[in-house]
């Protein structure tokens, strides 16, 4: 910084420790190019799509090269993708079964992120949701035909309860929600373990999961592709949130609030109320995600029904740009990626570490493409 170079430019990357220019080396006369960054004012949709497509191509190229090195030909990989996702109704069923909870996890995270509340507590909210739903199921609360609805409502209440603590701490005392939501995951997990190894241990097998839910406490089968009502539930939620966030007055005011809180308050937007409502909605969807896995996939509450959804949720919300439609699309591709990974393991016996590496490469490449959408890069000769 003290080089006294008059042409030094402040670039957005400097704060991250990346210098836009290297120190001049006068003894050498080699021409060196350095990047100069400019923030893009707006990006047309076509350019955005092209950028995503390019990032997917780069990821595919790296992944194919890695897989080829471990003996899997690119044509085989392509065949696996086609087989896994689209070859049979059952294959598509597997993808959609995988997609539904991912959509809900992504939505739960996206709503909170839309209101600038960094909810890293999805797993805790899922656990509380499933616990509340299980209370209804285990202690036979309410008449049988209404049981499932009561379980869903209880799950939403559980999720809201769990997120309300960090929300209150943030609103009243300014405590960082990243820390509180994250740490409450562990509290929720230990509560779950306490219940599963204690009072809720399965009376049939003495194993640490709850008793199986009764038939009327399970999300019913759709009668199509072996899917349950989890999928329509996820679709309904996505549709509802899309409308709320993109077309309703609430969505408009929420966007105003998150882009400039002070200005929103000055023009009379109920900032605090809106933010709290969005946070609670995020918790409710989180609780519902837990319910949909317990009542729609496992048919009981197990020890790790929630595992992995926190990071998937953050990732899906981020890549889907916190937009419900984006969340649905990204969740669908995530599901395909997970299943293709499985089948690569199964048929080519590649280790699971390599599969995870490939998945990570795709995600990093798409995430990195954000950079090129945010900044325009100029190359300039260093002096």
């Amino acid at each position: 910084m003290s080089s006294g170079n008059a042409t030094e430019q402040i670039t957005p990357l400097e704060g991250a420790g990346i210098r836009s220019e290297t120190a001049p080396a006068p003894s050498r006369h080699k021409l060196r190019l350095v990047p100069l960054l400019e923030v893009r004012q707006n990006v047309p949709e076509t350019q955005r799509l092209a950028c995503y497509a390019a990032s997917l191509a780069v990821a595919a190229a790296i992944s194919f090269a890695l897989l080829a090195l471990s003996g899997v030909a690119p044509s085989d990989v392509m065949r696996e993708i086609a087989t896994v996702a689209f070859s049979s109704p059952r294959a598509l069923g597997s993808v959609l079964a995988q997609t539904a909870p991912l959509v809900m996890a992504g939505l739960a995270t996206a709503i909170a992120f839309r209101s600038n509340f960094w909810n890293i507590g999805l797993e805790g909210q899922m656990i509380l949701g499933a616990i509340f739903a299980s209370v209804v199921a285990i202690y036979d609360v309410g008449p049988e035909p209404a049981r499932l609805v009561l379980m869903a409502v209880a799950a939403m209440a559980g999720g809201m309860l769990w997120v309300s603590v960090p929300a209150m701490l943030k609103q009243r005392l300014g405590v960082s929600e990243v820390i509180t939501t994250l740490l409450l995951n562990y509290v929720a997990f230990n509560l779950l373990l306490h219940l599963l190894y204690g009072p809720w241990k399965d009376p049939v097998s003495s194993f640490p999961h709850t008793e199986q839910y009764e038939a009327f406490e399970r999300l019913p089968l759709l009668g199509w592709l072996n899917l349950t009502w989890t999928l329509p539930l996820a679709a309904l939620l996505a549709g509802l949130l899309w409308w709320l966030l993109s077309y309703s007055r609430i969505g408009y005011l929420l966007d105003m609030t998150s882009s400039n809180r002070e200005m929103a308050r000055a023009v009379g937007v109920p900032v605090a109320g809106l933010t709290v409502a969005a946070i609670l909605a995020s918790g409710a969807v989180g609780g519902l995600t837990g319910f949909s896995i317990a009542a729609g996939v496992e048919f009981r509450m197990t020890q790790d029904f929630f595992a992995g959804y926190l990071f998937s949720g953050v990732l899906i919300a981020f890549l889907g740009r916190n937009h419900p439609a984006g969340v649905v699309i990204v969740a669908f591709f995530m599901a395909i990626l997970l299943l293709v990974g499985q089948s690569l393991q199964i048929f080519f016996q590649v280790p699971s570490a390599l599969v995870q590496l490939v998945q990570a490469i795709f995600i990093i490449c798409v995430a990195a493409s954000e950079f090129f959408l945010t900044y325009r890069m100029h190359w300039r000769a260093a002096t």
């Binding site: 597997s94 097998s205 199986q212 197990t302 089948s343 048929f347 016996q349």
Partner: protein, 361 residues
């Protein structure tokens, strides 16, 4: 408009789905063609413990049966992950699916009903059926023998035990370990710490170090990683392992309670191939005699005399001795097994009590 397109796409797909539903409703199990086993592992195949023990048996079976047995690792205990993995194997000809976790139980039950021509075998499972068998080992036998080693090696009479989660199949290893230790050393006491996780090296290390600080000089374990043995080695105390022979990780390990899945699975697969799959309504609960479990013993610190004692007890167990034979009371003084009786299998699975001399949370 988009909605309409979607609706059309959905109806087209559901028509395809209906044709699929007609398949899959025949009665009794019948083996079809040559056995083609496939293994679905819950953990990583090189986790050093549970999953690796199954994977090593898989490799042995490959050479002994001259078969190629593929595996998939790190398949979590959730239906959305297990089902596609199993179906991918079945689609490509596998007719014996071997699982590895109690969390697979429900999904395996559903799959077994859906695929009546495929045999499902699930270590640590809880569900059974005409073509589904859950298997587990009477690990209290092997842990009892390792407990004898611990009782013989301890100088402080304080033995430590790092366990995963407090329920039946873990509690019986804790109790058996102390019963074994007291067989050779009536003054032995056992402190147990539950980590709340099957494989968490960080918590296992913390638990082992805390126990050593309390004066424990032998460490037993029922967790999935070899961390406890490594910690024992670092502090110059002795240890005994679980799942596999853990002496490869630490010089501290003097005995290990091990799985020998291949000894059970080889004849089982041959039986299935010959059309003789035996149903087991309550699963197969197998002992040292049945060949599912054993001990890897003994390390250099074990005297010949102690080793002879252990081997004599092993012979006695094979001959029918039950580790939980009465009279046996829990630490609150309640009689759990009466004189002349042995603990029933049902009581073993629901064991939620500890014998006198076990302390810890």
């Amino acid at each position: 408009m988009k909605l309409l397109q979607k609706a059309a796409w959905l109806t087209a797909l559901s028509a395809l789905g209906l044709t699929q539903l007609t398949v899959g409703a025949s009665a009794e199990f019948a083996a079809k063609g040559d056995p083609k086993p496939a293994v679905i592992l819950f953990g990583e195949s090189n986790d050093g413990g549970w999953s690796q023990s199954i994977d090593e048996s898989r490799k042995k079976l490959e050479s002994e049966l001259n078969l190629r047995i593929p595996q998939a690792e790190k398949i979590p205990e959730t239906a959305t992950a297990i089902r596609p993995a199993a179906e991918l194997f079945i689609d490509r000809g596998a007719n014996i699916i071997i699982g590895s976790a109690f969390g697979y139980s429900d999904t395996f039950k559903e799959l077994a009903e859906q695929y009546p021509e495929t045999v499902f075998i699930n270590p640590a499972g809880t569900t059974n059926g005409p073509n589904l068998k859950s298997i587990y080992g009477r690990t209290y036998e092997s842990q009892y023998l390792c407990g004898m080693i611990a009782g013989g090696l301890t100088k402080s009479n304080k033995i430590g035990f790092v366990a995963a989660n407090p329920f039946g199949l873990v509690n019986w290893t804790v109790n058996a370990y102390l019963l074994g230790a007291r067989q050779v050393n009536p003054d032995a006491e056992l402190s147990v710490v539950f980590t709340g996780a099957w494989a968490d090296p960080v918590k296992e290390r913390a638990a082992a170090e805390a126990l050593i600080e309390q004066g424990v000089d032998v460490l037993g374990q029922h967790v999935d990683t070899p961390t406890v043995q490594v910690v024992a080695g670092e502090h110059d105390v002795y240890g005994t392992g679980h799942h596999r022979d853990l002496s490869e990780f630490s010089k501290a390990t003097q005995c290990s309670s091990i799985w020998t899945w291949d000894r059970f699975l080889k004849p089982e697969i041959e039986k299935i191939a010959a059309g003789g799959f035996e149903k087991a309504p309550y699963g197969a609960f197998l002992s040292i005699k049945d060949g599912l479990i054993d001990v890897a013993c003994c390390g250099e610190a074990v005297s010949d005399e102690l080793k002879e004692k252990v081997m004599a007890e092993r012979d006695a167990i094979i001959a029918g001795k039950h580790v939980f034979a009465g009279p046996l009371s829990d630490r609150e003084g309640t009689v759990r097994v009466k004189e002349g009786e042995v603990l029933s299998d049902g009581d073993l699975w629901s064991m939620d009590w500890y014998v006198d001399g076990v302390s810890g949370q």
